[in-house]
């Protein structure tokens, strides 16, 4: 059942990614001020959305774990955080490339960059904590608590850092600005590519989840063996 879901997602996601890549590279026009480099934005922003989606799912699943104590939610939270970190890394790295070309520097201590980095470190700490705890129940519980703290802290950091003067380009999507600042074709592509990356993220999460379940089974068998 689950492998069928992965297959179905793959059949939707991979062609969509390829098609988007083609359209982004060959069909869409260059942006007026930035020229061709703006195209990295089609991966930069959707990767951010995918990461945020992952972190939010992780937080919700952590709460569900603490309420229901079902190991499944913990596994989902863990898988989502790992995949979220990968997409956050894509977001950070594409951003750095763009910064090198547009601003002339790889890294600026710009609020959003700083925020993205802090966010990455916070969730990296989550994975470190998981690695350090051997007992699965204890690990799930402590990681669940940390995930909630991480999400709240990341949200507050976002607010704190917005008050700094920023050189990062402001919001462009019409749902945030309330007006049409970019070409509708470009905006549409952002959404379509977000969908494509989100599909990819879902495939990763499900695959990681399966690994985790096999791992748990092995651990349990090992414990049985020791008890005998």
């Amino acid at each position: 059942m689950r492998s069928k879901i992965v297959l179905a997602l793959g059949l939707v996601g991979v062609p969509l990614l390829l098609r988007n890549l083609y359209v982004i590279l060959f069909n869409l026009p260059d942006e007026m001020e930035q020229g061709p480099v703006y195209r990295i934005f089609y991966y930069h922003l959707p990767a951010f959305f995918a990461a945020t989606l992952c972190y939010t799912t992780a937080m919700v699943c952590s709460i569900l774990y603490l309420v229901k104590k079902s190991a499944r939610y913990d596994a989902i939270a863990m898988a989502c955080t790992e995949v979220g970190l990968a997409f956050a890394a894509v977001n950070l790295i594409t951003g750095m490339f763009w910064g090198r070309i547009s601003w002339g520097i790889w890294w600026a201590w710009d609020p959003r960059l700083t925020w993205a980095l802090i966010c990455w470190l916070v969730y990296f700490g989550y994975l470190m904590l998981r690695k350090a705890i051997d007992d699965p129940t204890e690990r799930a519980k402590n990681a669940g608590v940390l995930s909630i703290f991480a999400y709240v802290s990341v949200a507050i950091t976002w607010k704190a850092i917005e008050w700094w003067r920023t050189q990062h380009p402001g919001p462009v999507l019409s749902i945030r600005t309330g007006e049409q600042r970019i070409d509708p074709a470009m905006e549409q592509m952002l959404y379509v590519n977000t969908l494509a990356l989100a599909t990819l993220a879902a495939i990763f999460v499900i695959t990681r989840l399966r690994q985790e379940e096999v791992q748990r089974e092995i651990d349990a068998l090992r414990r049985y063996a020791h008890a005998l």
């Binding site: 190991a71 699965p136 129940t137 748990r216 349990a220 414990r223 008890a227």
Partner: protein
């Protein structure tokens, strides 16, 4: 008075996918003394920790004097003594008892009484670090009895104690049992436990293999219980 002192119903405890306790159900009446037997890793400590509220059951229901364990009022009625003594080395005996007593609203006079009773009054103000093993253990016993608990949960109490402390603990346990205090102790030292116990439970790989009154056969022959009720030889 009719409800049991300790009642568990279908208690499971998982560590990951591994069930450390499997469907443990029993009811222990007030004033009984239960000896909890089982091999290392069978789940004795896990069960005691769940009864003391140090650990939550994954499934099932635990009632202590008809209350849930994590209710503050229930825990006030429990006395706990684990593998370790549970005392601060840098504080004196008096300060230790005061620190824990404050959580149970124990008066200064009671603390003084207990220091006398475990024969530590003369050194009550020197730090526990300077105590001998036996003195530390006597203080630990006093700490567990300090607030006059209605249920005593002792994990391997005899293993780490010296002769004097064992004698003290046995006399204290016999004393409080006469007043209707319920006792559960897990132990390897079958002989000491059997003298006190009125009920015996055997845990085998997380399952409650036997729960029943202590019989005469058990007194003389330490291997009897394992042979009769255990699954593995």
């Amino acid at each position: 008075m009719s409800e049991p002192a300790v009642a568990t119903a279908g208690v499971w405890k998982y560590f990951g996918d591994y069930p450390a306790l499997r469907d443990v159900s029993f009811a222990l009446d007030r004033g009984e003394c239960l000896a909890l037997l089982g091999r290392n890793g069978a789940g004795k400590t896990t069960l005691l920790r769940i009864l003391a509220g140090l650990s939550g059951a994954s499934k099932g229901d635990v009632k202590i004097y008809d209350g849930v364990v994590r209710a503050s009022a229930t825990r006030a009625r429990i006395g706990w003594l684990g593998h370790a003594i549970g005392l601060y080395d840098e504080l004196s005996a008096r300060e230790n008892l005061q620190a824990f007593g404050a959580l149970y609203d124990v008066s200064k006079a009671t603390i003084g009484e207990w220091l006398e009773r475990v024969n530590l009054a003369h050194v009550a103000d020197s730090p526990v670090r300077e105590y001998s093993r036996g003195m530390r253990q006597r203080l630990a016993v006093a700490r567990a009895f300090l607030h006059g608990p209605d249920l005593l949960l002792f994990d391997e109490p005899f293993t780490s104690l010296d002769d004097k402390a064992i004698a003290l603990l046995q006399s204290l346990l016999t004393g409080v049992r006469a007043k209707g205090v319920t006792i559960i102790l897990s132990t390897h030292q079958i002989r000491e436990a059997m003298e006190l116990a009125s009920r015996v439970a055997l845990i085998d790989r997380g399952k409650l293999a036997h729960f029943g009154p202590r019989t005469e056969e058990m007194l003389g022959d330490p291997g009897y219980i394992y042979r009769t009720f255990g699954t593995a030889a």
